[in-house]
């Protein structure tokens, strides 16, 4: 998505652009696939940064302007209501901040003033403020109640932290705004709607692309990138190259080995698995009312590399049906997705038969553990209503996206200015440090602007 957005910007201003996509389907980390006629989204739980039309000064309207894509083309329908569920507390939130504030006030007596001051600090933070600063440190000095701190960290970490346990405060600020201040939305037809809008626009401005066209290496001459060699051996020259493959992955394309320390130390160590259950009934009829539920089974939030195949202690439940779609429209079938942290090492070590067997085994356990956080939902009813299921693991992520370590949130260390140390080669997307779907596209736009359009013609 970052690549498509960058391509649109460049083609809009008459640059000769070619997008090379290794996969047969566009989208990268936010793509889709089909099994037996059903279409599944890969990454999308929710598009974050979703503000109502007319709400300016935030990333989404700014992005749409830069791409000159009308807002309607993305078909963003707001969430109904989401929740952070921990033992003993349950914070609901919607796209209006007021509900979260009320919930904190009601469930954490005496904390509301501190909570408001903390929010003010976030809203007043200047761009890039808090880089290199621990969010846990700032939370600890801002909010006296440890449970409230852990609960607020849960959605923030799950929707974008590539690091375990803690997150850089500058990223916390970005994610807080995208999740709590702005909010969640989803196109009725899923991520395909957004990808199609990008592709249509890219074609309209004259961009070209090649699918199933992997890059074997980036050609670097005396520290200056000058082209690419494709997997079929063809060489293409370029004045500038924007890579959305990831930071360590791009290093490898420039000639580093996978075992090089510079590659290894920046591979993201957080990998995820997800179960997708297709239900014969609308989830609401089965008692599932929430859009997204972020859960954790103890007062201390666990977000770290998994010690076993799956870490069942925390996770995210997503119900794509539970968005406020226009009257009279809905998804044909019910969908329930459960995401947890998973071990890349374990899942990639399995032989194929053992892998299939492990998926089978963990599928039920993941769904069961998640259902503990959906009170009033009968697990037996969910089981009997499940008509189809699929699951992705870190192995799937590595296979289809090429992300080392199966790390969907990318490298531990980001490159906020997009530079790589190689002249004329820039990073966009997840490893530039902007997160989520809007963030990925925004990243493509800013890198294209800064390093190509503003750099002038060659």
């Amino acid at each position: 998505m970052a690549g498509l957005a960058a391509g649109i910007r460049l083609a809009m201003y008459d640059r000769k652009v070619l997008i090379l996509e290794k996969h047969s389907i566009p989208g990268g980390l936010n793509s889709f696939y089909s099994i037996a006629g059903r279409k599944f989204d890969v990454g999308l739980h929710a598009v974050t940064n979703v503000v109502p039309p007319g709400h300016k000064g935030t990333p989404l309207p700014s992005l749409l302007r830069q791409l000159r894509i009308p807002r309607d083309a993305f078909d963003l329908n707001p969430q109904r209501s989401s929740r952070i569920a921990f033992p003993g507390a349950d914070l609901r939130f919607t796209n209006s901040f007021g509900l979260l504030e009320e919930e904190v006030d009601r469930q954490f007596p005496g904390q509301i003033e501190a909570f408001r001051r903390f929010r003010k600090r976030i809203l007043e933070a200047s761009p890039g403020e808090g880089t290199g600063v621990s969010s846990r440190g700032i939370l600890a000095e801002s909010l006296p109640d440890p449970l409230l701190r852990e609960m607020l960290l849960c959605p923030i970490m799950y929707y974008g932290a590539s690091t375990a346990h803690d997150i850089d405060f500058s990223l916390f600020v970005t994610l807080w705004k995208s999740v709590f201040e702005e909010g969640f939305g989803r196109p009725l037809a899923g991520i395909r709607t957004i990808i199609r809008a990008l592709l249509d626009r890219y074609r309209e401005v004259g961009g070209t692309r090649r699918m199933k066209c992997g890059v074997r290496r980036i050609l670097v001459d005396e520290g200056i990138a000058c082209g690419v060699e494709l997997e079929d051996g063809e060489e293409l020259t370029a004045d500038r190259i924007i890579s959305t493959a990831g930071e360590p992955e791009t290093r490898i394309l420039c000639g580093a080995g996978e075992e090089d320390p510079a590659v290894q130390e920046n591979i993201g160590r957080l990998a995820f698995a997800e179960t997708i259950s297709i239900l014969s009934r609308q989830p609401e009829e089965l008692g599932i009312k929430d859009t997204i539920v972020f859960f954790n089974d103890s007062p201390l939030f666990h977000y770290e590399q998994a010690a076993s195949d799956i870490d069942l202690r925390s996770g995210v439940i997503c119900c794509p049906n539970n968005y406020a779609y226009p009257e009279g429209t809905s998804l044909d079938e019910g969908i329930l997705r459960v995401t947890t942290i998973a071990s890349y090492e374990n899942w990639t070590a399995y032989s194929q038969p053992d892998y299939e067997e492990a998926k089978e085994r963990w599928f039920s356990r993941m769904v069961e553990s998640a259902l503990n956080f959906l009170p009033g939902v009968d697990p037996e009813l969910i089981r009997s209503s499940t008509v189809f299921r699929d699951m992705f693991t870190p192995r799937t992520v590595r296979k289809y996206t090429g992300r080392l370590g199966g790390a969907i949130y990318g490298a531990g260390r980001k490159s906020p200015d997009g530079t790589t140390g190689v002249e004329n080669l820039f990073l966009a997307g997840t490893d530039q440090g902007l997160l989520g779907i809007v963030g990925a596209m925004f990243s493509g736009v800013t890198i294209a602007n800064r390093h190509v359009l503003m750099a002038g013609r060659k």
Partner: protein
Amino acid sequence: MTKEECKQVVLDIIAEIAPDEDLSNISPDVRLRDQLDLDSMDFLDIVMELRKQYGIEVPEEDYPQLASLDSCAEYLTPKFKEVSA
């Protein structure tokens, strides 16, 4: 091109890049940023459109010259004359 025409060119470009802005009551002597919701990326696009549509180059150090319609006209009118000459 007159200064008035030059202002219209800039307004037309803004209408294109920010179709959701109301441009009917713009004061020419007040900074555009203070009247409209335009960010630095939108100003970049004004520059990019000037180049694309009219072949006018605005170097980055001159971006502040585009602050208001009056200053745009002041700065751009001679440039329009240059390219049409």
